[in-house]
């Protein structure tokens, strides 16, 4: 497994391993939490719940105008049609990129994120650098992801300060005429649904 620790982020592995294991054993010994329940939570976000769900919804929106209309009107209900929803995605709003408009999602106060649609938020989304700067200089933040927008493009930043979770619907890449939703979904990255990148171009 690659080491993804960042030099600027402190880490305290040894003592924390001890503390976390102790607390887990206390809760298990008292009969409050079953170890299999903890495994189930980990497993759910490592296998079933992740950005592939959001990608399927975006690809469907690109290919099914009626679904896209429902997604625009009430994303929570539209996603529920695809059995997507639940914890940390109880109220979802879909925001569409378009010619001249780019959307970007942040939570400046903590790390609110549409878990049921995109899975666990990446480290950068939770970092102080992202949370502080996405609202102040979104264009500079986008550049750090290699995303360069035309200077006149309006950047709409959505700060998730309540239980509403925002899903960016990126623009459908050119050169994908005739692609079906399953193939299109391979171009929809997690980062494009947070708004720090565009959807991938076809290879």
């Amino acid at each position: 497994m690659a080491d993804t620790r960042h030099d600027h982020e402190p880490s305290e592995l040894g003592p924390m391993d001890v503390r976390v294991r102790a607390l887990e054993s206390i809760l298990v010994d008292k009969g409050y939490v079953e170890p299999a329940a903890l495994d189930e939570i980990v497993e759910a976000y490592e296998t079933r719940i992740g950005p592939h769900l959001g990608a399927q919804a975006v690809a469907r929106a690109w290919t099914d105008p009626e679904f896209d209309a429902r997604l625009t009107a009430d994303a929570t209900s539209a996603l529920a049609e695809m059995d997507i929803g639940g914890r940390q995605s109880e109220h979802v709003v879909a925001v569409h990129n378009a010619a001249g408009v780019h959307n970007l999602v942040v939570c400046t106060l903590c790390s609110c994120y549409p878990w049921a649609v995109l899975g666990i938020p990446p480290a950068w989304y939770k970092s102080s650098a992202y949370r502080s700067r996405a609202v102040l200089e979104p264009r500079a933040v986008l550049a750090e992801f290699g995303t360069e927008l035309p200077p006149e493009t309006r950047i709409r930043v959505w700060d998730s300060t309540a239980e509403v979770r925002y899903l960016v619907v990126p623009r459908r890449p050119e050169g994908t005429d005739g692609w079906d939703a399953a193939r299109l979904s391979t171009l929809v990255s997690r980062d494009s649904m947070v708004g720090v990148r565009e959807a991938n171009a076809p290879a």
């Binding site: 690659a2 600027h8 982020e9 402190p10 880490s11 592995l13 924390m16 391993d17 001890v18 503390r19 976390v20 294991r21 607390l23 887990e24 206390i26 809760l27 008292k30 009969g31 409050y32 939490v33 079953e34 299999a36 329940a37 903890l38 495994d39 189930e40 939570i41 490592e46 950005p51 929803g85 914890r87 940390q88 109880e90 109220h91 709003v93 400046t108 106060l109 903590c110 666990i120 990446p122 950068w124 939770k126 970092s127 949370r131 502080s132 609202v135 102040l136 264009r139 200077p151 493009t153 950047i155 709409r156 930043v157 700060d159 300060t161 309540a162 239980e163 509403v164 990255s189 997690r190």
Partner: protein, 220 residues
């Protein structure tokens, strides 16, 4: 509270460091178990998401800013469990259970996890009355500095924006975090022009929206 968690517009943290989109979610097993323990203990139903957020943000700023993300989660979880009498201080100190568990707490089982993840905890409630604001209306975020929990970021306080979405009534975190009741209020998405927030020298193409409860706003 004006805590270190309220980061919007703060400078000095350096560049954002993107990572591979398939990078591991955790930097060690303790982070993975902390995530799972935090979610499982929330499923005990003893505290709200608002209370857990408040416990995380209610830390000395220097500590908040230098703690790894899941360290903040873990410390908050321990504080919540002790504060609610579910785990004793002495047990945390000893690192093991010193008393048997009480009936009626848990157990959180795999089935309960599946149901809880699927259902979530919707925050919408019956509206307390008609909405005070409508889409397109100009509103000012109140210039307030509550000492308790709030979800009104400092960078919009006193600034004028436009109501963009009316979401219905949602649980008010400011009171619910302190166990004072849900007191649902109308919730709005309010859009602010970048110049209004960051001054005339800022990027004219930026707009920022926040979700604001009705008591956070006044007519502009």
């Amino acid at each position: 509270m004006n805590g270190a968690h309220d980061l919007g517009g703060t400078m000095g943290f350096g560049p954002v460091v993107p990572e591979a989109q398939d990078a591991p979610h955790y930097r060690g097993d303790w982070e993975r178990r902390t995530m799972a323990l935090t979610l499982a203990c929330a499923m005990l139903g003893r505290w709200s998401i608002d209370e857990s957020r408040h416990v995380r943000e209610d830390r000395p700023p220097a500590l908040y800013l230098t703690s790894p993300y899941y360290r903040i989660w873990f410390d908050a979880l321990e504080a919540l469990l002790v504060g609610h009498g579910i785990v004793g201080d002495d047990e945390v100190e000893a690192g093991r259970s010193l008393r048997s568990g009480e009936a009626g707490i848990g157990p959180v089982s795999p089935d309960r996890v599946t149901t809880a993840l699927r259902r979530g905890a919707p925050a919408d409630r019956e509206p307390p009355g008609p909405a005070a604001f409508e889409v397109g209306q100009a509103v000012r975020a109140r210039n307030v500095h509550p000492t308790g929990h709030t979800r009104l970021p400092r960078y919009v306080r006193g600034r004028v924006g436009v109501v963009e979405i009316v979401h219905g009534a949602h649980v008010l975190p400011d009171r619910n975090a302190h166990r004072l009741g849900e007191d649902p209020e109308w919730l709005y998405t309010v859009r602010f022009d970048g110049h209004e927030l960051w001054g005339a020298d800022s990027d004219p193409t930026t707009e920022v929206s926040v979700d604001a409860w009705e008591s956070y706003l006044e007519p502009a």
